[in-house]
């Protein structure tokens, strides 16, 4: 029960983080379509970092299951 709540909370964090990253990348690509490849790489790195932190939370929650 608490494990599920913990997993949900960490997913909320990741959702906000990745959503902001994706939205900003969209804006950036719309402004400068010629920099798409570079923006995408940086976007994926940032998304991976955010996701990594969220997955810490999920793993800890799984351990508490």
């Amino acid at each position: 029960m608490y494990a599920a709540i913990g997993a949900g909370l960490s997913v909320i964090g990741a959702g906000i983080g990745i959503g902001r990253i994706g939205g900003s990348a969209m804006d950036a690509i719309a402004r400068q379509p010629e920099a798409t490849a570079k923006i995408q790489t940086v976007m994926i790195i940032a998304a991976a970092l955010v996701e990594g932190v969220a997955l810490f939370g999920v793993v800890v929650s799984l351990m508490g299951l």
Partner: protein, 381 residues
């Protein structure tokens, strides 16, 4: 010549002679260990945790089934039919006080609750929750936890067998690609080489060259290509039911070793500027420098630690989601549920194909990034 394993279930058709010898040596190593253990005795653990439900109302609990699919095992399970399990036995190799003990996991007769003890060299072994324990000599027929010790387990488990298979596959693919260029020179590639070239160039241009720098990237290309293709192949193989499905990259021990490679390579190649930024941050006032020192030292370890957790959690989470969707059918006890569960499981599986590539990419990209920061030249200090 085709080495055939277990009635042609797994066929390896290899043209290259080197691969053939390699695979043969791996397979013969496995079969050398196949000394069958004889007579087992019926025994009962006192506290049988997996005992069936006490109440008549049977509620299906999907968690043990899901976890057993995600975890490592001592045999390669294919399917159950008419209350009988069909699986490929794998060698069990144990290091005990009396030396090395080997037998095939089929000696346990699919027992996973510690009921069958395998006798070998005067010692008794039981399997409980896919872990092998040794019973002490004085253990009674109804034994308890204090009669059990854990020997050093060096078995070829499902994950290790999957790793050996994927190594053979990687050797096959890459030696074939390399031989093509050796024979034909730098021409337009054909066959498997045309597929691999695009990916190798992708790793070189979009991962290594961008993040490590024009001057030094060639030194790290072998490592980056190795981890990229090892992770990617194993992610993909883990998605195939029955023949793959070993969840190798979803095993934290495997990802620990992979990230430890990145840790070692990053720090061995770290230059003066890299260590300077860790121990004595340039451009900061002295108290801040002292404050930053422990943070930077912890940062050296957290970066590969995050790599380890990310790969492990992503791949394991993918497997758990697919298995949870399939176990919905068993929870609702209705075949109509499969109309919902199967399309969703298919959708997640296709998504996992993307994740398999993305995680291999992210692992390699971040490794290249860490190595890049360690070897970067700083002109402006």
């Amino acid at each position: 010549m085709q080495p055939i394993l277990r009635g042609g279930k797994l066929r390896l058709m290899l043209k290259n002679n080197f691969i053939k010898t390699l695979v043969f040596s791996i397979l013969s190593l496995i079969f050398v260990c196949s000394t069958q253990a004889q007579d087992y005795v019926e025994i009962t653990p006192k506290h049988d945790e997996n005992h069936k439900t006490e109440s008549g109302d049977e509620k299906y609990d999907p968690i043990p089934a899901i976890m057993s699919h995600v975890a490592d095992a001592h045999d390669w399970h294919f399917f159950d039919y008419n209350e009988h399990s069909y699986s490929m036995p794998l060698p069990v190799i144990l290091w005990t006080e009396k030396g090395l003990v080997t037998f095939m996991s089929s000696a346990f007769h699919h027992d996973n609750l510690g009921h069958h003890a395998v006798e070998k060299n005067g010692m008794r072994f039981i399997k409980f929750n896919d872990r092998i324990y040794q019973l002490k000599d004085n253990a009674p027929v109804e034994y308890d936890i204090e009669y059990v010790t854990k020997p050093l387990d060096l078995s070829i488990t499902k994950n290790i067998f999957a790793m050996l298979m994927s190594v053979a596959l990687l050797f096959f693919v890459f030696l074939k690609t390399a031989n093509f260029y050796k024979k034909n020179g730098a021409v337009a590639p054909k066959g498997i080489a045309s597929f691999m070239e695009a990916l190798i160039v992708f790793v070189r241009d979009d991962i290594a060259r961008v993040n490590i720098g024009e001057k030094k990237y060639m030194k790290f290309m072998p490592y980056l290509l190795t981890i990229f293709f090892f992770i990617w192949f194993n992610n993909m193989l883990g998605l195939i039911p029955w023949i793959g499905g070993a969840n190798l990259t979803g095993n934290i021990a495997v990802t620990l070793v992979l990230s430890a490679f990145t840790l070692v390579i990053t720090n061995i190649n770290g230059n003066k500027a890299y260590w300077g930024h860790i121990f004595w941050m340039p451009g900061a006032p002295a108290p801040v420098k002292i404050l930053l020192l422990p943070i930077e030292l912890v940062g050296v370890l957290t970066k590969p630690f995050a790599l380890m957790i990310r790969l492990f959690a992503n791949i394991t989470a993918g497997h758990i989601v697919v298995l949870s969707l399939i176990s919905l059918i068993f929870i609702f006890k209705s075949i109509a549920m499969s109309a919902v569960a199967v399309p969703f499981a298919l959708f997640i599986s296709v998504l996992e194909l993307l994740v398999a590539f993305l995680q291999a990419y992210v692992f390699t990209l971040l490794s290249a990034l860490f190595i890049g920061t360690a070897v970067a030249e700083h002109e402006h200090h």
